[in-house]
């Protein structure tokens, strides 16, 4: 049986160069579950994902993947770990010079000697799962934003990875496409019960649909980590605003920069010919 891939952050500081984005965070994203990482724009969600993938090293602390410290692994073991991950990037990150089928087949054509007919069969199966079987020979430039994301998901899933990481899977999608993406992730979870899925998002509707556990990032740390029900019942003012989609409280309204002098506005309108 495939082991479960817990992702554990132990007193981790994340950032780039001298810039610390998340400091001293400790949290476990449990294996075999769907975890959602939430937070405001610029809150460190994508940074957290890039560190799980191994694209950036933490400033301090350890990130354990299935019990192994990702950044202490020998090169060969790190590469082996990466082959067990599927990653859906924000815009799909499809290679423009390859068709959808060639993009999806990439991990197989580069790492295996499978006959091309077998690769094609696997690729068409994955594309069918994401509803793109009829677009296998299209180029990414011929697809809509939602289709690119679904093609990116097919590529992320082509090796049946035990760990699937999604960066903003529903951002920029219309409500129907976003709901379809949620269904796809739930369908994957149903097909592969041991699969660990981490979805970085700020789409509350999507998170409510798919997540078993939730981590909320705020002010360079973790504002909440736990079940979705716990988040819905939280009393913390930031979490409440996040859940209720309400703006910051009064206080900032007095900021003089929020006021534009009537003369200035009139001058601008005259210049624009309004």
């Amino acid at each position: 049986m495939e082991r479960l891939w817990d992702i554990e952050f132990q007193s981790v500081g994340l950032g780039y160069g001298d810039t610390v984005i998340l400091d001293d965070i400790s949290v476990i994203l449990p294996g075999g579950r769907i975890s959602a990482v939430l937070g405001g724009s610029g809150g460190g969600k994508t940074t957290m994902l890039r560190h799980i993938i191994g694209l950036a090293k933490p400033l301090r602390g350890r990130i354990l993947l299935g019990g192994n410290d990702l950044f202490s692994l020998p090169d060969k073991a790190l590469r082996a770990a990466r082959r067990r991950m599927g990653v859906l990037f924000q815009d799909g990150a499809l290679l423009g010079q390859l068709t959808v089928a060639e993009n999806t087949a990439l991990p197989l054509t580069e790492h295996t000697r499978l006959p091309s007919a077998t690769v094609r069969e696997i690729v068409l199966h994955k594309l069918a799962l994401v509803g793109l079987a009829d677009f296998a020979d299209y180029y990414p430039s011929e697809l809509s934003g939602g289709m690119k994301k679904r093609a990116g998901l097919a590529r992320a899933l082509v090796t049946d990875p035990p760990l699937l990481l999604c960066d903003e899977p529903t951002s920029g999608l219309d409500p129907i496409s976003a709901a379809q993406m949620d269904e796809l992730l739930l369908d994957m979870k149903a097909r592969f019960p041991n699969m660990t899925i981490v979805s970085v998002s700020h789409d509350m509707a999507s998170v409510k649909n798919i997540a078993d556990t939730v981590v909320v990032l705020h002010n360079g740390g973790i504002a909440y980590a736990g079940s979705l029900e716990g988040l819905e019942n939280a009393d913390d003012p930031y979490l409440r605003r996040f859940m209720d989609r309400s703006p910051p409280q009064a206080g900032q309204v007095d900021d003089p920069r929020l006021q534009l002098a009537e003369g200035t506005r009139k001058l601008m309108h005259e210049a624009l010919g309004f």
Partner: protein, 273 residues
């Protein structure tokens, strides 16, 4: 433990760095980084059994895609050389040496240099832009997380393809240029065709041809190293982000390639003569 970072530089090194100044030192650092980048790409040239389709694609992009341009530029370069050479040599009653003048100018200097500059403008800029767009569009990160080495996937096939196509394009440039000189000297100005070609045969030595091909190989490495490196690190540029960074990377790739090509040409010519 001694702190080597505070140790004074030897006088000769310090005076050299002072003479270069900050821009000179930065230029040396950048050139060194590109040398390391190129070495990493060369080490991966034979790393994957899936290289051949990628190499063929790049041969088409760099070679076949530049063919028309090279023929066009080569023809007119040869025609201008024929015209200028004929009137200059006729001042000394030596117009019979036109074939030698045209062929030696082309084979020794103009063909490798102009071919490299033209390919830089056409294919090199495309390399920098394509890799830059892949970098800012997360495509290179996607390759890394699929455990596909971006150097092997993107850079190594371009190095191989450039090493194949540059000598071929340079040879085509030389041949078409010689025919251009023939068109002006023989067909337009009435010189003997036999004399034109016999002078070429007697003056162009194998050392000239091998030097020409050797230069084209060095130029191929320079163009690929600079253009791929600039695109690959487009996201780290301080003079812009996103599309602006790709644009700036492309511009600086073309400018730096041309500077390094001309500097390398001088160094190689000094060595070969």
């Amino acid at each position: 433990m001694s702190d080597n970072t505070n140790a004074p530089l030897p006088n000769s090194a310090a005076s050299l760095l002072r003479a270069l100044g900050r821009p000179g030192v930065l230029f040396l650092c950048e050139t060194g980084a590109m040398g390391i980048f190129l070495a990493r790409g060369i080490m991966r040239m034979f790393s994957s059994r899936t290289q051949i389709p990628k190499i063929l694609r790049q041969v088409r992009v760099i070679g076949a895609g530049s063919m028309f341009l090279i023929v066009f530029i080569g023809l007119f370069t040869g025609m201008v050389l024929g015209l200028q050479g004929y009137y200059t040599l006729s001042m000394f009653g030596a117009e019979g040496f036109l074939g030698s003048a045209v062929a030696l100018s082309l084979v020794r200097e103009l063909a490798p240099v102009l071919t490299a500059i033209m390919v830089t403008g056409r294919a090199g800029s495309a390399m920098a832009a394509e890799i830059g767009v892949m970098r800012i569009g997360d495509q290179i990160d996607a390759l890394e997380v699929m455990d596909i080495d971006p150097m092997a996937y993107l850079v190594a096939p371009r190095i191989t393809a450039a090493l194949i196509t540059f000598p071929l394009l340079t040879s085509i440039f030389s041949t078409v240029g010689i025919l251009g000189g023939y068109a002006t000297g023989v067909l337009m100005l009435g010189m003997s065709g036999g004399v034109y070609f016999s002078r070429i045969g007697s003056s162009v030595r194998w050392a000239d041809v091998s030097g020409c091909l050797g230069k084209s190989l060095v130029f191929a490495l320079i163009v690929v190293a600079v253009c791929c490196c600039k695109g690959y690190f487009a996201h780290m540029r301080k003079d812009g982000m996103g599309a602006e960074a790709v644009g700036n990377a492309t511009t600086s790739a073309v400018v730096l390639s041309c500077i390094l090509l001309l500097a390398a040409d001088y160094a190689l010519t000094s060595f070969l003569l």
